[in-house]
């Protein structure tokens, strides 16, 4: 984790503003999750939840997206990320399917359902064999992926919100 950040607020606490309000805190964590927020006077920034067991992948996405003014939420595991998604309502959720610990594919379904109800765009990284077809707006990017196209995809999805 990068130094110079403050951690303290649990992301599952109810005092986090709803996704349509302006954030007021400096950062938050939830287990392995972290949120970088904007100061009170800054207009609300877009937020991206990254669910990925790889520290490196999260670091790359965090570094690049933060430079573009995006707030980042992070989780290492699928279940952990799902809670953050439901509590923090990120604009875009990026899920590496290896975060699915039991490998049953239930993660795909759970994220599809949650992203639909929480109005978050979903980007899945990896191979999906049984993705639900009734949802739209979700994207699947095979691994190994290039970061340039992935970042552009995330930016396009952020623009829709």
């Amino acid at each position: 984790m990068a130094e110079g950040r403050t951690f303290g607020q649990r992301a599952d606490q109810d005092d986090w503003p709803s996704r349509r309000r302006f954030p007021t805190f400096s950062s938050a964590t939830h287990g392995g999750a972290r949120l970088t927020q904007l100061s009170p006077e800054t207009p609300r920034s877009r937020s991206v939840l990254i669910v990925d067991p790889s520290d490196e992948s999260r670091e790359v996405l965090r570094t690049v997206l933060e430079r573009r003014g995006v707030s980042i939420l992070e989780a290492r595991r699928g279940a952990e990320g799902l809670k953050i998604l439901q509590n923090q309502h990120p604009d875009v959720t990026v899920v590496d399917l290896e975060a699915d610990q039991d490998g049953s594919g239930s993660l795909v379904i759970a994220y599809h359902n949650a992203s639909a109800s929480e109005e978050t765009s979903l980007v899945m990284l990896g191979r999906v064999s049984a993705a639900p077809t009734s949802r739209d707006g979700s994207q699947v990017i095979s691994k190994p992926y290039h970061y340039g196209p992935l970042i552009r995809t995330i930016e396009q999805l952020l623009e829709r919100h």
Partner: protein
């Protein structure tokens, strides 16, 4: 559980468990048993559970279903049945079959006190003596009984000859030897049916009259006879004296001699696997002495019986070879898939690092460049370790022993891992024994082995908040063995998992683990004559005890392995 195991075809090596009441077989991907075979229909067949068994049902497929080479529409399956669908050949294995044979729980081995234990031995026969029973011919015995005994002896020896080999060539040589020992054949040949072309291919031939240095005589076998044997599935005895018009005149026979032959099918469980041919030539001089008809119907019958035994053995050997090959392919596929997955993850890391470097250079931000470079560097290290682990695991090698300081070696590992431990917020401590003389070790190999164990220990307590790994060294009181103990206070390992952690490609670290580290470490320690023991308690942590024989520089290893060496 009942299953279909593919032993031939594009899906060779795949096993399909028959878990459902109805298991669909076909080319479409919605089939439970999807076969990548263009001769298989989209929805070709079904295996349905029927009571305790299973039934194969053809769904009016274009090319049909075959069970043990017979086309079927609906057929109950028995364990060991060969199911041919298109070009795909599968073996059906039934689950637990109902049997009238009960478990051995009703059998008691009792002592002398029991009433039934009062039996006494009336007669004892050794294995060797038992084997000879069939060959003992009593002079007063009838010719029929003597012949029956002789035949039984031949079949007994045939059964022995074919019962303990997994090499088809070796098996066929044994059969040929046996036939030539028993019958006065001059020449012989065993031909097997090629599975792909269905043509007969000569595998073994023998010529009793062949002298060393003499030009080899070609063995010509009538295609008509072979076709007859294959088509009619019957053995034949032939004699050119009787069948060829040229030999009608007795004078000609005397002049040219007579060739007799026996040709029999090798009839297996599922079809003909080949033929055995033998022939003999009677010279004109022997004919004059009335020595004709060397081959009798008795010979033909026994040849058929021998060929049947040989065919069963050929089928078993082929089946076993196919199974081994299929298992090998499956293992290779799994290995390639696992390694590809690791390489893919490493490639992903390198791409991420490179992207950050590019971003940093564009924005002239050195911090981001450095961050990107650190990721690239870390992944270079990962691929290097993966390749070294693969190399170490893939070949046996004797350690390159040299006088080495174990404390120094372990200290190098701890120093190397200190950055990683710091990143993982894990306290890494070294507790070396105060006095450690030099011992004969392979420092390069052991460095890799210890590094793997320490890396695992750090990973085990990463993110725990108060992770601690202690690496200590010790010399046993009798100075016979060295120990390196790697103890962590991570989550511990489940008892069931402890049994598996040294199995290749078994990793509890998800995408981060290659499943090679601990097997490689164990291999290296065992190559040194040592081993790795694990003590673990869930929720408390684990201790990996790495032991090595303490071999002083003056002592020379007596053999390839150092196991059992004493410190002097």
């Amino acid at each position: 559980m009942a299953s279909l195991f593919v032993i031939q075809g594009r899906d060779q090596g795949r096993r399909f468990d028959l878990e459902q009441e109805t298991v669909s077989i076909g080319r479409d991907n919605d089939n439970v048993v999807q076969l990548h075979d263009c001769e298989v229909s989209r929805n070709h067949a079904e295996v349905r559970r029927a009571g305790d068994g299973y039934v194969l049902v053809d769904l009016k497929s274009s090319n049909g279903c075959f069970v043990n080479t017979t086309q079927i529409e609906e057929q109950p399956l028995s364990s060991g049945d060969r199911v041919q669908i298109g070009r795909t050949l599968m073996i059906f294995t039934g689950g637990e079959e109902a049997s009238s044979i009960g478990f051995a729980s009703e059998v008691d081995i009792v002592g002398q006190v029991s009433s039934v234990a009062g039996s006494r031995i009336v007669k004892a026969i050794s294995h060797e003596e038992g084997s000879q029973l069939l060959s003992q011919v009593d002079a007063s015995e009838s010719p029929w009984l003597a012949r029956a005994r002789s035949n039984l002896q031949i079949m007994y020896r045939t059964a022995l000859a074919v019962s303990h080999t997994l090499d088809i060539d070796q098996l066929l040589h044994r059969i040929m030897d046996l036939i030539f020992e028993w019958v006065e054949a001059d020449r012989g040949c065993i031909m097997l049916v090629d599975r792909q072309t269905e043509a007969l291919l000569p595998k073994v031939s023998c010529n009793r009259r062949q002298r060393p240095g003499q030009e080899k005589e070609r063995l010509e076998i009538s295609r008509t006879i072979l076709d007859y044997v294959l088509d009619q599935r019957e053995g034949v005895r032939t004699s050119d004296a009787k069948e060829d018009q040229r030999w009608d005149a007795a004078a000609s026979i005397v002049k040219m001699g007579v060739r007799e032959a026996i040709c029999v099918p090798m009839q297996g469980r599922y079809g003909i696997v080949g033929v055995i041919y033998i022939d003999t030539y009677t010279t004109p001089g022997r004919i004059i002495q009335r020595h004709t008809d060397k081959f009798s119907d008795e010979h033909l019958k026994l040849m058929i019986a021998i060929a049947h035994q040989a065919a069963l053995a050929v089928e078993d050997t082929s089946y076993y070879s196919a199974m081994v090959q299929a298992e090998r392919l499956a293992a290779m596929g799994q290995t390639i898939a696992t390694l590809s997955h690791h390489v893919k993850n490493i490639l992903q890391g390198i791409r991420g690092g490179s992207y950050l470097i590019e971003e940093g250079l564009k924005g002239e931000d050195n911090d981001i460049v450095r961050k990107g470079w650190a990721i690239v560097d870390k992944n270079q290290e990962k691929i290097s370790n993966l390749v070294m682990d693969m190399l170490t695991f893939s070949k046996d090698r004797n350690p390159d022993l040299m006088p080495s300081d174990l404390n120094e070696l372990v200290a190098d590992v701890v120093e190397l891992m200190s950055v990683r431990a710091k990143d993982a917020k894990v306290a890494l401590e070294l507790e070396p024994v105060t006095s450690m003389p030099e011992f004969m070790l392979d420092p390069e190999l052991l460095h890799r082995a210890i590094l793997n164990v320490v890396t695992n220990a750090i990973d085990a307590c990463e993110h725990s908040g108060s992770g601690k790994v202690i690496v200590s060294t010790s010399l046993s009181d009798d100075t016979e063995s060295l120990q390196i103990i790697v103890a962590d206070n991570g989550g511990g390992i489940d008892e069931e998992d402890v049994k598996r952690i040294f199995s290749v490609f078994e990793s509890r670290k998800g995408a981060r683990g290659t499943g090679l580290g601990l097997p490689v470490s164990q291999k290296i320690f065992r190559e040194h004559g040592g081993d790795i023991l694990v003590e673990s308690t869930l929720g408390e942590g684990s201790r990996f005890i790495l032991t090595l024989p303490a071999v002083a520089p003056s002592a020379k290893p007596p053999s390839d392995t150092l196991a059992g060496m004493k410190f002097e």
